[in-house]
Every structure is written in structure tokens, then in C-alpha cells.
Point group: D2
Chain length 317, copies 4
């Protein structure tokens, strides 16, 4: 389970918590402009926008969890196990496999308007990346600095929703989350005005704190919409991670049937204007950045950086 | 406002979030055994247990926020603005000012049993540290690896409570929080057994997520009691900070009357057996440690380390 | 706003709270079999099933709020102001105005299976009963002793949903309510097993108690699904009204923009097998019954009984 | 478990829900002025104020659940099983058994001021009414038209609290409930002002709806403080029962360990100025009144009226 956020402060930032019980050797992966982006049923994109994000690279192909391209358009796939429906392919549509969608969109679109137009032609088809890898049931959040969009694969095609909250978590389908958010619109970050208050924060009592998907949605939206950054750059980045921390999963709080635990394996924050991808991991709270601007983006080969996941503790004395 | 936690994993850890609108030039402060600990109405402790913790050092005196002594006994003061009552001094009691209490207890007691016995003789008196510094209204949590204790200054003296949750936040008086915790005892971190569940985490729906003191208490207790560490040492320390993050205050979520914001200025975690004090700050997520064992604890002068508060970001490429 | 309930105890019962700021001279109205049921775009039903329910009779036409027919099929219209969409008429469909729907269905169907088949052909059209009476935005619950159904008029036609909860309130569209119900499936009416409980009822803490539509849905479903009747007949009827009372609106709890209040103007319970319609009103708690079996159901004229709304208090001494 | 309420509308009303798994042959009982009120350790009151309320009369003695005296002072005992402590008798105090307290206070006091003064001298002693009837663990609510008071028997004596909410339920001790009420002081009965609302009642989302004692306290206080009566007399009385209904226990919602259910056996509402005691029962929703003014209050014998508990349904046709 996951939480993705679009945050407009002094600059625009996009990122997410990846909450899972296990990892897939994911790496920070830059796809330069001339990497030949292949698609099972569509023409290869031999030139396209460069992008940076987290991906499992398999057989030389970047299976992105989320990414931002050189124009700042960002996109993340999040778990959607009960409701996602992939279809059989059909002529007249852009037949795209779920694992191809981020590359297909970020490779060609510079903003959410273009992305929406492209997505309206997409048919998400039921093809696995490999025989041993069934398609992950996903929905997607896209954003640029101006707006956010959610795309959900339903039985009658890909549904597109405006996302005024700039947040996405998991089930149920997106409209539910906006209603849940409305349910909490009377909550406030302000100090109580009446004399009954005995501590700070009381006008937000009722804000959910469990780790279910709707509760993370509401909590993330509340913390984000009230968020105040200490300043541009590092201040914004740190603030972004504070927002993500408020909906992160500590090991033990979400126990799965098999005795495993969902934890926030990594949190990331992309400075979408500068193309710098920051991350922390469950074991390493140190913020690490990978700067797309430091790479030759006209190459044709993927560039990957393994996660710096080892605990880093500095002893001051 | 604050949250303090006692956490027994592979070792015992104690720490807290300090949630305030502003700082007081606090430093990690080690008080060695021969520092002459002076008290306004009691005899100076010319020899005592060494301790490490966060303090504002003023006029050469350590005003501790929380500390751990060389036997692992730990103690933190937390804001208690509506209910704290300090009294006039009285013969037959150990007349102690609120700002002296942590030094008085940690200087002389090796565990909570000794601390309870000492506290039963204490009368908290209404003396300011300086004319321009009125006594902060506080209550205290104490713990060793086996048990936790809460001390609250009421109009009829210092109330002592067992704290089976090993958590303390702020108002109202402590018994309220245990009742609130009982209100949530049917919530679970386990996966839902019935078919109605559409996402993970649903059996904990109802867990509060706002930043009021009772809600932080319940959330911290839930996350802590379900916590699973990845291993001893760094694993435990990182897990401790994950627990604290789940009740941390991002800037903006708690707005004060004057337009300020309560934020989690620092989070700390003391390995009480080894005497290593770890901390992070709002602006710096990197874990910093100060190891009491690296100092000469037989000195008579305070040892202080300023907070490493500057944002630290490592660029990986 | 309203709450409708299907309750299977020793017999099957159907009823609802009608929550409004004002009344429309509603009467308990029996439509006998030969009342010529006219429809704006469809053939008149000159013979049909008899039905009993609450209606405003206007220009000789029964505008039913809810009713039960002689086979026990029941149907209620509930407020659905944000989402209801009525369409322009279209050839090939049964073009029915919203105010005609209850008569159309209950006049011809004996159970929910037949009703579903009939509703699949229905197109709800945007015709007012009179120029000064714009169509009320509604959705409908239907039930027999075996199952419940919800029908919602959307922009792309009438949506039909199974309603396993046997409850309907108002906005948002029906699927939301089932998700909300799932959110509370870990709550229980049983006594707490652990020692932390300090009073009865604690394992249901988290059950909502406000008067919004989703909260009434969840509360009604909880109370109904745990309901235990004292016995058949009067015991069941009284139990039904107890369930409805748990989601009734006391005057003052829901203030409208104009200074009015939504209140539960009447509550009703139809013994669907015997065709007895029971009701109470806001001002009169005495249960009044109207028995369809006592009327000549082969007549062609409506039979109406005004609400006995005056407070009835018996002085015992 | 129970809920007691003081309600000031056009007149002052006091009443309660009695929520229990079983009954004790309770009757509406009038104690006239010359009934010799005997006390185990105190002088008999041979003349005293008359009172009316619900009582089990045993061995000729009225064991009141709640009552109102001829001056309008009212008092109810409510279950307090975890916290009530009765003491051994002690010279210098008014040693009163718990089952005597209502008679002792209502027999002698005309308002809450006098009651408070009397209660300050009371020591509640641990004497059963009969060997086979251990003292019920109770706390009490008292009120007149101006103010309410709560009395709780603790280990160090009877605690008296002002009760600004005019509500009492059960555990935990009273101060908890006022804090819980403050936790909900940002909830409102008004219509939402922002555009996010999709139904009425949303600004009260967060109001608890389960049947635990603190949740009934908060819900009753919310409904009562927002209550708007339709008019004096019958309007007020009916409104009072609507308030009580909002916290009543339908059979099945609260299951006890032995397989029994707590239900609202009776609800009552005393017009404290006129001395008319109204009630309904679980099985009979008809409001029944017993008017103290119709009796000869100078008698010396108890006057009792059995509960009219049989279901009353009027068939209108």
C-alpha cells in the first residue's frame, strides 16, 4: 500500500511512500532520451523525454514505480488490488500493458493536459511482463505543478479523475476518497477558540490515524493542505518528507496474513523543476539525492543507482 | 506539546518528541558525577550519578528536558499547562523546584523503585529559575527497562501513577489517557479476517490521527505496542524514531493563537544501557549520537554538544 | 434526509424514517387494485397489485414516499439531491417520471427479481408532476423478505445495486455506503474480552453517531444486524421502531441554512406479509396501524387516512 | 447502564434511560410527606418533602432509581461498578447507605445548593439493604432548574462535581466525561458552509454513536444542547423523550457476557415544576404520566403504580 503526494510550495514536489512487505531490488533509474523504449503492442519510442524515478530494471527494461520527466510531469503507480481490471487488446486503441504506462506517458507528455489526452486513447491490456510476473493491479496518479489526475483501470476502460487533493493512496476507487475527505472538511489546524480546549490540536480531533488506505488519504491531505515549509530548497524537501512521515507505516502496525508486515520501504520526493530525486529508506533516514541534471540525458542506456539503505548514524563526540 | 516513550526491544530505549513553537538553545548535555548539583532548598549533591540528555544550560546549570543516567533510569518533563500546580515550601518535605527535579532524581536513583521512594518525599515548590523565567508547568515520565512511572504536580501534592503503556503526552491528567487507551483496545494491527476488507489496516480504523495530546497518546501506544524491530542496535534505534515519527508534528498541522506553529523540534532516543543519546531535528533527519561512554564521567564540569540542525542531504551521483 | 430498513425477524418488515424540515400533508394511502394508475408516457394500469404506504395525494394521484404491495414487495424513495439525474425520454425504454416509479413497480411486480427485470427497462425522465413541482431528486430501495435492491438515477441511466445491508439513507451514491460499512466491520456488540474494559459496549467504539447520511447508514446497519426481537407481532414491530429511533433526528441536531431543522416527521414499519402499515410521528409516539386487509382492495378509489399526529399522553392516576 | 439528563426548555425536566439486562418490579412510587423515612444510622424523617419517581418497593421501603421532590429537586442513581467505593461508618458524619441517599437528600433539600451542603456531610457506608442484596455501586446526578451536580463515592469520600453539561452516564469517573465532551466541542449542528458538503449534518461527523458510557454522554450532551422544542407542555415532554431515544439501547446492540442484553427498560421525564412523572417502556412507546398533584401528599403510606408495559397499538381503520 502506498501514499503519493503532489506538493506545491516554493517549488513543485512529487513523491510517495512505497509500503510493501518485501522489495524488488529497486534502483533510482534514469531513462535518457535515446533509450529505445519498447512496447508490446505499440511502436518503440526511439526518442522521448528523459525521466528519473524508482524502478526495478528487469531484462534491461525499467519497471517504474514512479517517475518525473524532464518537463516536471510526474506519475506513480499504486496498488489497487480489488478494483483494477485489465482488458483484452482492441483495435483502434493504444494498447498498453500496465507496466508500460509510466514510460508511455512520461516519454511523450509535458504536462497533465497532454497526459489526459494521451490517456483517453489508452486501453490497458492484460499482458504480464514475463510469464512468472502477473500484471500488478494498479491505479496511477499524475501531476504537474498546476494539477493532479488519477487514472483507474475499470471493466469499462480507464477512468480519469481530477484530483483536487493532490493525494492518492489505494482502494477503494478514487471517488470514495474525495467523499471521505469532505467528511473531514470541518476539521481545522487552528487553535480552538472556545474555552473548552485543554490542549493544542483539538479542532482536528476526528482525523483518522490508522493505516488503512482511506485514512492515509485523509490524513495526508490534511497535513499537506496545512503544511508550512521553512523555506525553498532543503526546507521544502524536508517538509515533504515530514508530510510523508505522517502516513508512513512503522513495522508492526500493519500485519499481513502470512505474518509479514507492510512497511514504508522507501519515501521519495522529486523536485520536479530541477529533476532531483530524493529518497530515504526504512533503515536509513538520511536524505539521499540523485540529480538528473548531472547525467548525460542524450545517452541510450539506463543509468541506475542502488538504494543506500544501510543505517547511517553519525557519532558527534 | 510532546510525546515520550519507553520502548523495550532487544535493549531498552527511552526518548521523546519535543513539540514547541520555538527553541531555547538546547544542547546535548552530559552532567558528570562530580558536577556540584545545587538545589535551592536542598543540599548540593557533590557526587551523584552521571546523566546525559537535552538541556538548556543557563548560568552554568543544566535545565534538562529529559535525560538518562548511567544506570539507565530515564526521565522527561512534558508540558502540563492546565493542571500543574506548584506549592509553597513546607518543612518535612524535600522541597524541590520543578526545574531541579530531573537532576534530583537521576542524580540519586538507579531505577524506578528508588525514584518512586524519593518522589514520595518531594514537594514541588513554586520557585522560578530566574525572575524572568516563571516555572514551566510540567509533568514527568520516568522509566527503566522494567517499568514506567508518571509524576503529576497537583494541588494536594505530587501524584504518582504506574504507566503500563510506557507513553506520556500532555493534558489532561494521566488517568484520562489510560481510559482513552482502553477505548481503543479492540483495535488491531492484524489483517481483517472477514471478507468485507478492501485494504490492509482496516481493523485499526478508529485509531485517532490528530495532534491533540490524547490522540498522540493512543496512536503512540498502538504503534509502539505492535512495533517489530529489524534487529538490535541500529535496527532498534531506527524503529524507535519510526514510532516517534508517527506522532510527530509537521509544521502547519498545529497552529497556535499567535500565528506560530508547534513542530517537533527534535526527537531523541537514548539507548539506556549504553548511555548513547541519539537525536534528529526538524530540519535534519540524519541520526546523530552522543555517547556518554566516550566522556570522562568523573569530571566536575558540564559537557555540551550543540544540535547539528543544518539539513544534511547527500547527493549520490 | 431519511433512513429505510428491511428487517427480517419472525416476519419481514420494511419501513423508514422520513427526515424533513416540513411536511406535505401526507396520508396513509391505500391504492386498491382497480384504481386506474396513470403514467405520463406509459399505458394506464387499470388493474394492478394493491399497495399501502405514505403518500401525498395531489389531484387524485398518490405520490408515494414508500409503500408495500399485497405480495409484500416494498419500495421507498429517499432524497438524493446531489447525484440524481433524470433524462430526456427515449424510444425503446419504459419512460417513467420519478413520481410514478413506486406505483409502476409495486403495481406490477411481486418480488425483487421481477422488480429488477422491470427496472432494467426503465428510463427515468425529467418531468415534473406539475409546473410548480420540480421533480424531487431521489434514489430508491426495494425489498422483499429475501433481498434488497437499490436503484439510483445516474447520467448514464438507472443503476441497480444489490443491497446486502438492507439499509438505505441518502448521498453519496450507494457503493460509498458499503465501503463505509466495511470500515466498521471490526466493531462488535459483544462484551469486551480483555480486562481493559471499564463499561459495556466498548467493542463498538468508533460507531458513528452524527446525523450525516453515511453515519446513519452505518449505525442503522449495526443496530439492525445485531437486533434481537422479543417475539413475533408487536415485539417485532416495537423492535423495528427501536432500530429506527437509533437513527432518528431530534429537532435541533440538524440545522438547515434557512434556520429550519430536519426532523424525523414520521417513522413507519410495514408488516409486509400482513399488509399492516404502522407509524409514529414526531409529536405522537403512540404506534398507529392501518391494516390493508380491512379494506375492500377491489375498489377503484384511493383510501386515505390522515396522520394521527396530536401528542397522546395517558395519565395513569 | 444509564443516561440521565436535565433539560431546561419552557420548563425544567429531568429524566433518564434505565439500561439493564433485567428488571426489579419497579413501580412509579410517590412518597408522601408523612411516610416515616427510616435510615439505618440516622434519625427517621417523620416529615419531609414528598417525592415521585421510579422505585422498587421492598419490605415497605422505596428503593428509588430516580425521583423528583415537590420543590423540583431531582436525583438519579446510575451504575458505577468499577469506581464506587462505600466506606465503614465513622462518627461525625451523616452515615448513609447507598440505597438511602435519594430519600435522604430529596426529603430534606429544596435545591442543589442545599443538597450540596447536605452531601458534604455524608459518608456513604457499606451496608446492604438485605443480606441477599449487596449494595449497588452507584454515582448520582442531582439537579434543579438552575444547575446540576454529580456525586461519586470514592475511597477518600464522596466527591462532588458541578455538571455544566447536565448529563450523567456511567464509568469512568465524572471528570473524564467533561474532557471527552471538550474533545467534541468543534462539532456543530449547523449546515456546512463550504462547498464540500454532500449531505446535511456533516459538521457533526465525529460524534460517537456506540453505546459505551462516554459515547452516550457526548451524544446526549450534543443532542440536548442543540435541542429545540416545539412548545411548552407536551412539546417539551416529547422532545425530552426524543433526546433520550438518541442514546437508548435497542436489544442486541449491547450483549453481555452471559448472553443477556442491556436494553432501555424504561425512559422517564419528570416535569419538575408540576411534579408529573412521564415514562415509556421498552415494549410500550405510549407516554404514560403519573401526576403527584393528584395525590394526597400528606399521607403516610407509599403510593405505587405498576408500569404499563404492554404494547399498545391503535388500529386506525
Amino acid at each position: 500500500m502506498c501514499t503519493a503526494i503532489s506538493y506545491l510550495s516554493h517549488d513543485h514536489y512529487f513523491g510517495r511512500n512505497l509500503d510493501l512487505g518485501y522489495g524488488y531490488k529497486e534502483t533510482v533509474t534514469i531513462t535518457p532520451r535515446r533509450y529505445p523504449f519498447r512496447f508490446r503492442r505499440m511502436q518503440t519510442l526511439s526518442e522521448h523525454y528523459a525521466m528519473i524515478g524508482m524502478a526495478t530494471v528487469m531484462d534491461g527494461y525499467p519497471l517504474y514505480y514512479e517517475a518525473t520527466n524532464e518537463h516536471g510531469l510526474s506519475m506513480a503507480g499504486l496498488n489497487f488490488p480489488h478494483s483494477a481490471r485489465y482488458l483484452s487488446e482492441k483495435i483502434g486503441w493504444d494498447n498498453i500493458a500496465s507496466f508500460e504506462l509510466i514510460g508511455w506517458v512520461l516519454g511523450q507528455c509535458a504536462d497533465t493536459l497532454q497526459a489526459r489526452a494521451l490517456l483517453e486513447k489508452v486501453r490497458l491490456i492484460d499482458i504480464p511482463f514475463r510469464g512468472d510476473l502477473p500484471p500488478a493491479p494498479l491505479h496511477w496518479m499524475l501531476c504537474d505543478a498546476r494539477s493532479s489526475l488519477v487514472a483507474e483501470p475499470a471493466a469499462d476502460g480507464l477512468k480519469l479523475y481530477d484530483d483536487p487533493a493532490g493525494v492518492l493512496t489505494n482502494e477503494p476507487p478514487f471517488p470514495y476518497h474525495l467523499y471521505r475527505l469532505a467528511d473531514h472538511s470541518h476539521l481545522s489546524s487552528a487553535e480552538a477558540e472556545d474555552g473548552a480546549a485543554y490542549c493544542v490540536g483539538m479542532p482536528a480531533i476526528g482525523l483518522p490515524g490508522d493505516f488503512s488506505s482511506p485514512s492515509r488519504f485523509v490524513r495526508a491531505a490534511f497535513v499537506k493542505s496545512n503544511s508550512v515549509s521553512s523555506g525553498p530548497g532543503a526546507g521544502d524537501v524536508r517538509q515533504f518528507f515530514h508530510i510523508l512521515s505522517s502516513v508512513a507505516m512503522p513495522r508492526g502496525s500493519v500485519r499481513l496474513a502470512g505474518g509479514e508486515y507492510d512497511i514504508t520501504r522507501y519515501s521519495c520526493c522529486c523536485d520536479t523543476r530541477r529533476g532531483i530525486y530524493y529518497y530515504t529508506t526504512y533503515d536509513n533516514s538520511q536524505i539521499i539525492g540523485v540529480d538528473m541534471g548531472r547525467e548525460d540525458l542524450d545517452r541510450d542506456a539506463l543509468i541506475t543507482y542502488p538504494l543506500m539503505d544501510a543505517p547511517q548514524i553519525t557519532i558527534q563526540n
